[in-house]
């Protein structure tokens, strides 16, 4: 019994160091995994916003049959943008990472909700597709860089 206690006494500093090291490594990887999961969620939100925005700008509001769908998409897009801005703020403060997301998000706002957005007789605007795609892809790239 004494031999076991003596053995434990001698290895205890190393044992504690290994346990503490393990805990810190675990915390680090859990944090990285949580961050990656949040980034995946943000990217999913961006993809949904892109899909809705592309469909919206493809609709012609001067045609009666397309108006109801446009009205729904307008609210979806505004809601998605607000939620995304809030989630990016949370990401930035939670992980203390300085994203240039406000500048990028203002570009997204212009592309998705600028021009004749919510216009009563807005025609289809295919020229906006590339703006929507490019601005959203810029934020996605920025987020992917943080993840890797």
């Amino acid at each position: 019994m004494n031999k076991i206690l003596d053995f434990l006494y001698h290895i205890s500093p190393e044992l504690i160091a290994v346990i503490l090291g393990g805990i810190f490594i675990q915390l680090f990887f859990v944090r990285r995994a949580n961050e990656a999961e949040l980034i995946n969620f943000l990217i999913k939100e961006l993809d949904e916003l892109r899909t809705d925005a592309l469909e919206y700008w493809n609709l012609d509001c001067s045609k009666l049959d397309q108006k109801p769908r446009a009205r729904i998409l307008e609210q979806k897009i505004k809601g998605a943008f607000k939620s995304l801005a809030s989630d990016l703020n949370h990401y930035s403060s939670r992980y203390h990472k300085k994203l240039e997301h406000e500048k990028l998000m203002s570009e997204v706002a212009d592309a998705c909700t600028g021009g004749q957005f919510e216009g009563a007789t807005r025609p289809s605007e295919p020229a906006r597709y590339i703006m929507v795609i490019n601005t959203i892809n810029r934020i996605k790239s920025e987020l992917m860089r943080r993840k890797l």
């Binding site: 307008e74 609210q75 505004k78 809601g79 943008f81 607000k82 801005a85 809030s86 703020n89 406000e102 998000m105 203002s106 706002a109 212009d110 998705c112 909700t113 600028g114 021009g115 004749q116 957005f117 919510e118 216009g119 009563a120 007789t121």
Partner: protein
Amino acid sequence: MKLIKIAVDYSDTPLGRYPADGNFNGQRFREEFLVPALKAEDKTVVDIDDVEGYGSSFLDEAFGGLVREGHFSSKDLKQKLQIQCQNSDYSIYANLIWKYINEARAKKKSA
């Protein structure tokens, strides 16, 4: 000083640019709320919290339109107008408002 809380004094669901787009459009907000307040008071505070969401079209027409329509210069607005938000989720909209005010000035100069 005049305080305008958009969600209470105007609508919590503002939308569109022009009267044809809906009752609570950007042009009406500018002409009926912003311009009279900015002309009458030294300082006008616009509280943008608690609105369900803004479209850039509404913000650009309401605030950028102040400069585009020749009511004020962007320099005047920096002194007379304050955009207020307690909720940090709305800070993006405050930035957009100042962006549209500044861009409207740039458009006027280049025209």
